[in-house]
Amino acid sequence: MTDATVPPAVARPGLFEGDARTRKRNAAERRFRLYGMIAVGAGLFFLVTLLFAIVSNGIGAFQQTSFTLRVEMREDVLDKPGNRNIEDIKAVKTFAYKPLLRAAILREIEGNGIDTPLSGAKIVGFSSDLDKLLSDGAAAKLRNQVLANPELIGRTVEVTVLASSRVDGYLKGRVTRESIARDKNLDAEHLDLVDVLRGAGVVGKGINTAFITGTDASDARPEQAGMGVSILGSFFMMLVVLLLALPIGVAASIYLEEFAPQNRFTDLIEVNISNLAAVPSIVFGILGLAVFIQFMHLPQSAPLVGGLVLTLMTLPTIIISTRASLKSVPPSIRDAALGVGASKMQAVFHHVLPLAMPGILTGTIIGLAQALGETAPLLLIGMVGYIASNYPDGVGAGFLDPNSAMPAQIYEWAKRADPAFYERAWGGIIVLLVFLAAMNILAIILRRRFERRW
């Protein structure tokens, strides 16, 4: 059957002495392995670098520099008639409060015996060199305090007001003496003064809760900018996504997995879903702009519209994961239900769906997390560029009034000219990532807790 001859005896070394070729092959093997380790290392390195950049740049946003000043609320300025009539007090504009703050700073300079060219600064007038130390919003804050409690007038009150973003940056190391050389917003003598006042406990850094709860501020007041309103905007959007995407996604999955006949229409739906999952998110933005805003005239910048767009974007993700969890419920469960005379619909809703629920919820949470971080479609429906400076009043307004969203707010800050906003943007990313991490951890816990092995 075979005419092969006995193979010629190959000269083989013993097992213990490797030949040159094997050594070469093993070197190649080690190199290859090394490449793999380098690749994994590179991936991890990028992750660490990214996280380091985020934390080191953004942690500053959670602290804010403020002045603690003893302000004399002079009656002759704030309430000339002297009868504490709220209308009269309201008539005094923010502008009038500025000299009070300036005087308070000068008093600190004198009280601490500081030698500074600024001690000759004007108290009255449109602007003063001392103003550069404080936030533009400081006078407004003082006014609000007085309006809330007119009894303060005539007394000397200790108030805490925000420092200007340059002073804040100086305390955080972002602003240096070199960097302010060409900066008209702050001079070296200001920094000298801040150094001394800091020693005297007048200026200091504190925890900045306003960054998380506060509203966005205009270009000139980065020290006041917070993301509270945009967090609400994101919250209302996620509510829309959850309320629409979960029921629709589950219903669509049940149909496709349990009831759909094998025909071309079903195929069409399936192909559609898998393709929609890979359509660039910006295209969903175009869809939202054309259909929801141009065609249906829904309000621009509204969380409702953002939510609708994100729903359409998230649906494929939710459908795909829901179908996977429905598929993992073994057919024997369906057979058992059908065997006791349940209808197919009852078998699905009473038995299959509850068993698949943990998986469905896990998929939904992951889809929501994806939607929460999405920015590109929001650009097109006007959620970027809107200054989120007011809290929505009420639930209806929460859905329909123009608002921003967390990622849109971050983008907005990143676009602004003042580098002080960059710190806010990084800080915003920390907040966003904390939300995302929380959602993902919740999903993992759900999966661990309810994971079922059939």
Binding site: T2, D3, L15, F16, D19, R21, T22, R25
Partner: protein
């Protein structure tokens, strides 16, 4: 057809090729092989028989250190090839496997052409100096595997396109192309139909001329037909090892007797 008497043994040499002493294998917590001692002879077909899960395949995979590829598997004891310990730290498993070839349960040709399947081993081991050499090795190996006539006109066709029996003979050709000294076969016929099985069995008998062949089989008839020596494994123990004729006609151990008469298995 399964009751055909075993092929008569012609040249049983007494030269020991592989020898194991006190071999233990653990799979995680599972003690899969317990203290096995065995001497496998050159130019002989040795068959390992035993019920499923008795450890015969596991032991086979120890002989060319294929178990190294499984993370949780630990091998203890002493196994030598021509007197050299194959688990010695100086031994490169790559070199060892070139000398102890293996054919698997399911035919597993690479998704490449027939030619490339056979040429793969010689290429990685640098056995051919030029294309003509390689062509010679491929042809010789295909002839030894008794498949040359069926594929010589389509060496460029994918190996996965062959029938099951042809695929398994291709895998044998692939294994002999590296000119091993020992050929391990892990249930090589279990995925084949009777005709293909007969062809492969005939081939095994031919291969005995040049190699020490170790075959794991579920079929006692097959063991009786192709092997000169038989080892019976049960629950990780080597129960009995001896001439095939003696094992099947006059087993020493009651467990062996129960198995070959069909009471355990």
């Amino acid at each position: 057809m399964y009751d055909t008497p075993k092929l008569e043994s012609e040249t049983v040499t007494d030269e020991v090729k592989i020898s194991a002493r006190g071999c233990q294998v653990h799979y995680g917590d599972n003690h899969a092989i317990k203290d096995v001692d065995i001497d496998i002879q050159d130019k002989t077909v040795t068959s390992f028989i035993g019920p499923s899960g008795c450890g015969k395949s596991t032991f086979l995979r120890c002989l060319n250190r294929m178990n190294d590829t499984i993370d949780i598997c630990r091998v203890q004891g002493n196994i030598t090839l021509d007197g050299q310990d194959i688990y010695d730290p100086r031994v490169d498993p790559v070199q060892l496997r070139a000398r102890v070839g293996m054919v698997f349960q399911k035919p597993n040709p690479f998704p490449k052409s027939i030619y490339d399947n056979v040429a793969y081993g010689p290429k990685i081991h640098g056995m051919a100096r030029n294309k003509a050499d390689l062509d010679g090795i491929v042809e010789k190996s295909l002839r030894r595997a008794a498949i040359w006539d069926e594929v010589k006109d389509r060496l460029g066709a994918p190996g996965t396109g062959l029938s099951g029996g042809q695929q398994q003979r291709l895998c044998i050709a692939r294994a002999v192309a590296t000119e091993p000294e020992v050929l391990l076969m892990d249930e090589p016929c279990s995925a084949l139909d009777p005709i293909a099985t007969a062809q492969v069995e005939e081939l095994i008998d031919e291969l005995r001329q040049d190699y020490s062949v170790v075959i794991v089989t579920h079929s006692m008839q097959q063991a009786a037909r192709v092997s000169q020596k038989t080892a019976f494994f049960h629950l990780g123990n080597l129960v009995e090892y001896g001439d095939t004729g003696q094992i099947f006609t006059n087993p020493a151990d009651t467990r062996t007797e129960s198995y070959i008469t069909g009471r355990i298995g």
